[in-house]
Amino acid sequence: MSKSSGMLHLRQQQMMAALLAGDDAITAHIAGDHNLDAQQRLSIYQSGYRLRLREVIDNDHPVLGSYLGDDLFEQMVDGYIESVPSRYRSLRYYCDPLPDYLKRDSFFGQYPHIAELARFERGLLSSFDAPDWDTASVETLQQLPPELWPGMQLRFHPSLQLFSSHDNAVEIWQAIKADQTPPNPSQQSACWVIWRNRERLTEFRSAAPLEQRLIHCFIEGENFTTAAELTAAEVGEEAAAAELLSVLVRWLELGWISQLTGLGTQPTLEIAEKP
């Protein structure tokens, strides 16, 4: 670094310290006048920084905001902005670490469903602008030569995510979205599928245990034969083929599947499961 950029670097460090931590060392290098002194001028940037980030949290997490109410929302905003400076070029991603922050915060961490509510809203946003891939149709399945069915694998649409949770965060989200009183938080095992439909709208629906296992089965690169065995273990040999076919047709109709392949290509799927 040159001597000159050393001065620039120092000023930039001082400015960032003023924005992130309220440090006022930079004011000695800011010219004031009769209208505004150096501190007043600096405070325009300090206020702008907070307002901008606050607006992002508000826009990205409207249901979480409604659920918390004004006071708790401000508490969350203050704590998050102080603890988590943006490391992203786009504000679109600023709240990506919000669920983790809520989980480890000494206050909000007492209420794990709040972090889950945030995680669910992040999941909806991730599906919203996931890559555009074509979706396979039921006809694609019907046209597959019978000899390829046993080895058939699936490539899910990149917007599809599994949201597994141990509480009723999604039910709380749904109630608030519908302007209804949210249920009390409770522990329950739940699994939801989030995806973007063919009209580019984000949707979600609950996944039954067999459906969850089948999704995992195909995510792991297993083929139709393995999926059929898994289904048979659940519903019996006789009903297995019809059940599995019904599941596949539903997935195809919903636009969850981008590609049917018997070539052993690894499916691509972002999993938003709780670690």
Binding site: S4, M16, A31, N35, R41, G48, S90, R92, P158
Partner: protein, 287 residues
């Protein structure tokens, strides 16, 4: 007439995506915020492509951080280049400022000290960016609320020198000149008079919030009369320059922005001898 005159444009905002496609408004071109479309897919990309089929686009970035003392973000530049390959914009712009340090982004357009050292620093980085993108970059003057005691020249001298040394182009934000002239008590006309017309490729117009002692560049109001007056003077000095309105908050219906854009067209029609001023870009020869 300026060979690169696109006519009169608007900032493309999500609130207007549907209206733009359905009503195909009388806008000559749109400016997109580059970072908003650095996503993989979904609605943003769908509308981007659909609107690109019908309108010329330019790309305007907010996070290149050309003045920062941290290394240029090569990953960002590559993503910008990929987006440019996809969009085929008429040009790419960003701001004469810095936005963050050591991996932390302030998401603000922070001003530089106006020093020889800062000119050297920025000009070298602009040349690197232009090399990567394979084209000249437009740099916009930002609104500012502070000036550094180390500054040894005016903003317009600094801006001009950076642009000449880096051989880049100017996106002159008329509202920002007004805002900074109020905040730093300088004469906006002097600013305009010092700018080399050969370097000016685009104008921005926008609204701001006036607090009496200072003015903040909020982009949430209509354009005020003093800014329109400065725009008139800018046209007199620079001729037909592609002009667009930025509105980023308190965003009104598209029709309201079209009415505001018509004011820009009317002023241009009064000021400019060029018979094409105020005509849609499709009727012009656009490079």
């Amino acid at each position: 007439m300026n060979d690169h005159f696109l006519g009169f444009g608007l900032g493309l905002r999500t609130q207007h995506f549907n209206d733009v496609l359905e009503s195909r408004p009388d806008v000559d071109w749109f400016e997109i915020i580059s970072e908003n479309f650095m996503v993989a897919g979904g609605k943003p990309k769908y509308y981007l492509h659909a609107i690109r089929e019908q309108y010329p686009l330019v790309m305007h970035g907010v996070s290149m951080s050309i003045g920062s003392t941290e290394p240029l973000d090569k990953d960002y530049l590559q993503r910008l280049k990929l987006l440019a390959n996809e969009v085929q914009p008429q040009w790419i712009s960003d701001h004469l400022c810095w936005t963050g340090l050591e991996g932390v982004n302030s998401h603000d357009l922070l001003p530089m000290p106006y020093t020889e050292e800062a000119i050297d620093h920025i000009a070298g980085r602009i040349m690197q960016v232009q090399e990567t993108l394979g084209r000249q970059l437009l740099l916009e003057n930002v609104s500012s609320y502070i000036s550094y005691t180390e500054s040894v020249m005016s903003e317009w001298e600094f801006y001009s020198e950076v642009v000449e040394r880096a051989d880049c182009l100017m996106l002159l934000d008329i509202n920002n000149i007004y805002v900074s002239s109020r905040n730093h008590n300088f004469d906006a006309q002097t600013y305009l008079n010092s700018i080399n017309p050969e370097r000016v490729r685009q104008f921005h117009l926008a609204g701001h919030s006036d607090y009496g002692t200072h003015v903040i560049d909020t982009h949430d109001h209509d354009i005020c009369d003093p800014v329109w007056a400065l725009y008139r003077k800018a046209l007199q000095r620079f001729g037909a320059v592609s002009t667009m309105i930025e509105r980023d908050d308190n965003i009104p219906p598209l029709n309201q922005l079209l009415d505001e854009l018509q004011i820009a067209r009317d002023i241009a029609a009064e000021v400019l001898p060029c018979p094409h001023a105020g005509k849609p870009a499709a009727q012009l020869e656009i490079r």
